[in-house]
């Protein structure tokens, strides 16, 4: 396996007190190497979103160790975890999460705000480049409301690609799309993966997961490797 980007050792996540305790993740071990595309499949409530949030440093494990590119995330404070999110992790959500009152380019450049990226044409040039990469050349000045579902998701992917992250986390990226658009988006993710992007994708659809290079199954908070 290539140099690992994600390493989880005995990671558990519990919610609530002892009386009403919910174990969302139980003793999860996981390694994702650089350039891998891993799909995590599981039914609703199985813990796959919790796993994604931990991988994206939006949540912290109750126990266990999470190493991101060899760095122990538990040792980072709130501001450094935020720094990790804006510099090394890109998120793609099922609901797109685009700001509808901003243009496509402004949405794509949003993460630059928290990277303290220099102002000027550099930002816009980079945004145009990633928009071109996802096939949205000429859509920079549009409002998200004027775009189709597939185009919106491609804007979200472009936003995630700004800053060249080490890991692309996709939370049901095709959940709101029809089958034709689903294939387009999966093709785009596959293209990105081929260029070396590490992708972890959560889905409950097996045919979507089948596009990934490696599939994991999560059931009741425990993770299992699935055969090819």
């Amino acid at each position: 396996m290539a140099e690992p980007v994600v390493e989880l050792y005995g990671v558990s996540r519990r919610y609530g007190s002892d009386a009403g305790r919910v174990d969302a993740l139980i003793d999860v071990d996981l390694r994702v190497g650089a350039g891998e595309w891993v799909a995590i499949v599981g039914p609703s409530g199985s813990g796959k979103s919790t796993l994604l949030h931990i991988l994206g440093c939006l949540d912290v494990p109750s126990s266990g160790t999470y190493l991101f590119c060899g760095i122990d995330v538990a040792g980072l404070g709130d501001r450094r975890r935020a720094g990790l999110r804006c510099r090394a992790i890109g998120f793609v959500f099922q609901a797109f999460h685009l700001l509808e009152h901003r243009t496509v380019a402004e949405n794509v450049m949003l993460s630059e705000v928290y990277r303290r990226a220099p102002h000027g044409p550099h930002r816009r040039a980079q945004a145009d480049a990633v928009l071109s990469e996802v096939g949205l050349t000429g859509r920079a000045g549009f409002r998200p409301t004027t775009l189709s579902g597939g185009e919106r998701q491609r804007v979200a992917i472009a936003r995630a690609l700004m800053g060249s992250p080490d890991l692309l986390l996709c939370d049901e990226p095709t959940g709101n799309l029809d089958s034709a658009t689903t294939h387009t988006i999966l093709d785009l993710i596959a293209d990105l993966n081929r260029t070396g992007m590490t992708v972890v994708m959560i889905t409950h659809e097996h045919d979507v997961a089948a596009r990934a290079g490696r599939q994991l199954r999560i059931v009741d908070g425990r993770i299992y490797e699935e055969g090819p």
Partner: protein
């Protein structure tokens, strides 16, 4: 890893850009929210300015009337018979020689015993024809010193007093009681058995309200007919600004032999009175403006809180893109502060316009402390920041996972 783990950060320019974008995302709501602060601060600036402007008018009139009056009495307890010479008969003449005295006159209550005042007998068995009225004795200068105005006829003069003529001037209330409305027919009245010719009827008086219901006879007549021993008080009208100076000279002018027997009453220092009047008005109007501002602040707090709840998804997204709690709080604080600042600028302008318009309508001179319109935007921004603090903290402490999930 291609990136070092550095903390996320946000430049001031980006912070302002993001906050403005947030405000312009819902322009209608932003305008309505700002309107609350505009009304509050416009009311505050206008009330402060109008209180100063109106206060100046009130104080100006107060100065003119109250700050030019001096009364001189003896220090004897009220009701005690005043001995001869306690106040000189020629007090008005002595006082008029002082620079700054505009008018002076003596006034005394005449003891007429049980004598009633009546007019010509009218055969009306039901109506009263005799009245127990106050009879006052005045020197001719008193009418000017008391700023009495004539409704009919004329007042008496030095000649009437020197000759002890039986003439009288009636206060308007006394005239009404006696049924005398004009002096064209040379009406007469009786004090006891003595017949007096009515020469004039007063329309009103700015000082010495006792004159309104009294029969006023010349001092010389009172001395001869009723053995008036001494004037009871001396009423003095001074020029504006001369009150304190005259008050210090009055005792020596009237009783150089024993100045301490006299009590000189004059209004407090006009400057102090002006400050007191202004201060009372300011407190009242500040309170009104403050209430208006509080309403504006509650508006900002309410709308910002609603905005936080509506933008939960955006907050989650920003956290996912690298915003810290502090970045989220800062953005909402800048948004609410900007609303307050704009409200302050517009409110100060509107308030100033209101002052100018009201002053122009009443032909007053508009008076406004220049610091007030300059401070209004600062106050507005502070109000915005304070109002936005709670919503901003709520936004900052939203867990990103929950924020993303609830969007």
């Amino acid at each position: 890893m291609s990136t070092a783990v550095a903390a996320s950060g946000m430049s001031v320019r980006d912070l302002v850009n993001e906050a403005l974008a947030g405000l312009f995302a819902r322009p209608g709501r932003t305008v309505l929210t700002v309107l609350g602060t505009v009304v509050g601060l416009a009311a505050l600036v206008a009330t402060l300015g109008l209180s100063r402007t109106a206060g100046n008018q009130i104080v100006g009139r107060f100065d003119e009337l109250a700050a030019t009056e001096i009364q001189v009495k003896t220090k004897l307890p009220q009701g005690t018979p005043i001995p001869p010479g306690a106040l000189p008969w020629d007090a008005p003449a002595r006082l008029r020689r002082l620079a700054g005295v505009a008018a002076a006159g003596n006034l005394s209550t005449v003891n007429v015993g049980d004598a009633l005042v009546s007019t010509s007998p009218i055969h009306d068995p039901q109506g009263r024809t005799e009245f127990k009225l106050t009879v006052l004795a005045a020197s001719p200068g008193l009418f000017d010193a008391a700023r009495a105005t004539l409704g009919s006829g004329r007042t008496f003069d030095e000649g009437h007093s020197l000759r002890a003529d039986r003439v009288a001037v009636l206060g308007p209330n006394a005239a009404r009681q006696l049924g005398i409305s004009a002096v064209d027919d040379l009406p007469a009245l009786r004090i006891g058995d003595q017949l007096y010719l009515v020469t004039g009827i007063l329309a009103g008086t700015a000082r010495q309200a006792d004159l309104l219901g009294a029969v006023i006879i010349p001092e010389g007549t009172a001395r001869q007919e009723y053995r008036l021993a001494s004037p009871e008080l001396v009423e003095i009208e001074t020029d504006i600004g001369a009150t304190t100076l005259i008050a210090n000279q009055v005792r020596d002018a009237l009783r150089p032999d024993d100045p301490n027997t006299l009590r000189v009453a004059f209004p407090p220092e006009p400057k102090r009175v002006r400050e007191a009047v202004k201060s009372d008005l300011d407190v009242l109007f500040l309170l009104l403006g403050g209430v208006s501002l509080l309403v504006g602040a509650l508006g900002i707090a309410n709308v910002t809180l609603v905005s936080v709840m509506e933008r939960t998804g955006e907050i989650g997204l920003r956290r996912a893109l690298g915003a810290t709690r502090r970045h989220i709080a800062q953005q909402f604080l800048v948004e609410s502060g900007a609303m307050g600042l704009v409200g302050g600028v517009v409110g100060a302008s509107l308030g100033t316009l209101v002052i100018v318009a009201v002053s122009a309508h009443n032909t007053w001179t508009p008076v406004l402390d220049p610091l007030v319109p300059l401070a209004a935007p600062v106050v507005g921004a502070l109000v915005g920041l304070i109002s936005g603090t709670y919503p901003a903290l709520r936004a900052a402490y939203l867990e990103p996972v929950d924020a993303l999930r609830s969007a």
